[in-house]
Symmetry: C2
Subunit: 451 residues, 2 copies
């Protein structure tokens, strides 16, 4: 039994580990194009900003297990090996050793595609100038670090999604003057409802990060091969460092070469066992679709936990076990400067777009008892289906860990819980942690009356 995994980061490494545990006799081989496996890519902005690791280039701090540790577990890790194509009929892959340049045919019994996503690279002039970066993998972060080391002072971050926001923070913390450009009217557009997005932009501005929204980038300026500014439809913004964070696309070329069916989202379609349309070929992680349990639609949601979860499921199944991926509910959390933001399920806008009869309640409260000196604002929107009260989603704005309350709603979404039940729950209370009625109970009580 030979299990071949393409891609050695989140999904790929989770799958390899699980397959190994499920079937100690299976041969498990991981081909990784790059030089690192098993690292937390989500941590890259935090190493760059100095919030994690021993220094701002200590990306090794993000490595969960080294290739040697994986090999000690009986997993064969081949770094700098790129899988070029798949012959599904022959059950082989064509692999190039990027060091030697040689190619070799590698057979498989089960093949996992864990190729992740690639940053979208718009067709802009000077996109390849020095000082222009995307952020996805460790070498990207190293290149950004090099630009910082060479004295960059003015940064433009293009795109106000998770990566754009995190990189704007990181560069701000490194002392750069940062301008964030967003083509939509507000940042954080795909995560939150309009009113909540506005708070994210306001926090950036409060912290000294300039936000220019509703602005389209037309190209980049460069001099002597080095970026000097960003051309927009509202003028030029000077920059000696530019982060392009305008989205990601699933890496599906290999899947297509194997005749694997893609879903409507453009990512690889799988069943709940993570099997693709081609026997013997599996997919997991950011390159694969998943089921949103709230909307009952297939979605492409490239986030770290989902990738790891899918990888585990694929690993168990490839090695002869039986596991199913129950899907996602759309949970996400991020922090930008002093604002913590969390969401799960559907936003009100998303629910309406899906044709659901959504109703939402908002509550502004505090994270600790209001009379506590350290009480800080905590705002929540809870959304449910009118008539039935079925919970659809929640959005939180607050400070520190208080927004992790979102997981209560996430857990209830997994079981198709109702707002009526949430309003009556026995949540933990003491003054250093909440008001007697936790903000979740308050908002659920308010929403219940609107159902």
């Amino acid at each position: 039994m030979r299990i071949v995994v393409v891609g050695g980061v989140a999904a790929g490494m989770s799958a390899a580990s699980r397959a190994r545990r499920q079937d100690p006799d299976a041969e498990v081989v991981v081909f990784e194009r790059g030089e690192y496996v098993s690292y937390g890519a989500c941590g890259l902005p935090y190493v760059l900003s100095g919030q994690a690791g021993d220094s701002t280039d200590d990306f090794g701090a993000l490595v969960a297990r080294t290739p040697a540790q994986m090999r000690a577990r009986g997993i064969s890790v081949r770094l700098r090996h790129e899988v070029l194509s798949v012959d599904a009929g022959a059950a082989t892959t064509l692999v190039r050793d990027l060091n030697s340049g040689q190619t070799r045919t590698e057979p498989y019994d089960h093949l996992l595609l864990a190729t992740g996503v690639a940053p979208v690279r718009p067709d802009w002039e000077n996109l390849n100038a020095a000082g222009v970066h995307v952020l996805r993998e460790i070498p990207d972060a190293q290149a950004i670090g090099a630009s910082l080391g060479s004295g960059a002072k003015r940064a433009v971050v293009i795109g106000g999604g998770y990566i754009g926001l995190e990189m704007a923070e990181a560069l701000h913390l490194r002392g750069l003057k940062v301008v964030l450009l967003e083509s939509a009217p507000q940042v954080a557009g795909r995560m939150l409802d309009r009113q909540y997005r506005a708070e994210v932009g306001a926090e950036l501005e409060r912290g000294g990060i300039e936000v220019r929204a509703g602005v389209n980038v037309e190209g980049l300026h460069a001099r002597a091969g080095r970026v000097t500014g960003v051309q927009t439809d509202a003028g030029t913004v000077r920059a000696d460092l530019v982060i392009v964070a305008v989205g990601v696309r699933p890496r599906v070329e290999l899947a297509q070469s194997a005749g694997v069916r893609l879903g409507r989202t453009g990512a690889i379609a799988t069943d709940a066992r993570m099997q693709t349309s081609v026997p013997g070929i599996w997919a997991a992680g950011d390159n694969a679709e998943s089921l949103n349990r709230v909307s009952r639609r297939k979605v492409h949601l490239p986030l770290g936990l989902g990738a790891n979860r899918m990888g585990r499921v694929a690993g168990v199944n490839m090695a002869g076990g039986e596991a199913k991926f129950p899907g996602v509910v759309g949970s996400a959390v991020f922090r930008v400067l002093n604002l913590s933001v969390a969401r799960t399920g559907l936003t009100h806008e998303e629910a309406l777009a899906l044709g659901l009869d959504a109703v939402s309640a908002d509550v502004r409260s505090t994270d600790h008892a209001g009379y506590f000196h350290d009480a800080r604002p905590l705002q929540v929107r809870l959304t449910a289906e009118r008539g039935t009260g079925r919970l659809l989603g929640a959005q939180f704005l607050g400070h520190g860990d208080a927004v992790k309350r979102v997981d209560v709603v996430a857990a209830l979404l997994h079981g198709r819980g109702k707002v009526q039940a949430l309003a009556e729950m026995d949540l933990a209370y003491a003054p250093p942690f909440s008001s007697v009625w936790d903000v979740l109970l308050v908002v659920a009580g308010k929403l219940r009356a609107m159902i």
Copy 2:
């Protein structure tokens, strides 16, 4: 329609407000023995310690609504009025105005007993000496404040439950030398399993609060009517301030005078609508039993949220509405110095004592991604039923708000959730908030394999 409420703090005031809202024409009268209504008694230690309010005697900061505000809502609040007895046959109460000393007969259509709990006062010599205090109501806190103001330096707190722990912290923060005496082998005995209790004691000691466990108090020493020490079976402990926090008992004298049935816990028995065994008489709050949804047993759990929840249910029902109290799951959280502690459901020890085939898993992790500089230890025990995987409870030790994750388990307990489902949930992840696999997912995964 005349609704009479006895007791104007948590349950009583919640009931009065809800009854008023349910039936704007009903007459709602609240008799409160003391001088304050509608205040957060749980906040008293935090005002005393200087963590809440404008000063260490600003107990007014804890008042949610003043009598005037309640009256403006059409609720008649009578302070310093003690209800002496109930004639259920005549549907009247005998009420004494503590200012004038006069008694009066007050009729009711519905009577709510929200008389709360009284601190247990052991039969110790010199219990009434100056400097010896219990903590339950605002006047108790004011008396403690006066003892502090008169220069107390050495405090002994007797009892290591919630109030004892919170008062030990408060007095420590006020600069006193504090000794905590506990008759059981460890503090926090009713809240946590043995290993977790040990961490609470260790935190107290780390912070400079001396813990003497397994020590029985035999009496108090006093000189000239002022306490000078505590006599134990292991010697005398000097003290000029003593807090007696050895438990509470439900105030049920009035209920008994009315012929109301008590439950096996000694608190008032009610149905899910909070109706007692006597028609027209209701009970809610710390003097009433509630159903533990995990053990399916009646319990006496005098905690703030439960009291408010019961009060609301009683208020709706007395005013002709229809509400049911679904019961508690045993959630609680507290902080002592730098340690946050939370629990829900049953501890492993409690589950075994109930004859359940309990199995528990423990995980030590961090509250944020391990590579984050601000990551702090977070420890969790998850308990489930062997064979079925039904969740039974969770215990957390950590810092700050991280332990509020307990609410995820509390929510699942309400729906008789299983560990298998928890292990596969889409909880929110970003490095500033958790590891990719939140500690809850890690412990659930571990426990699932043990079921």
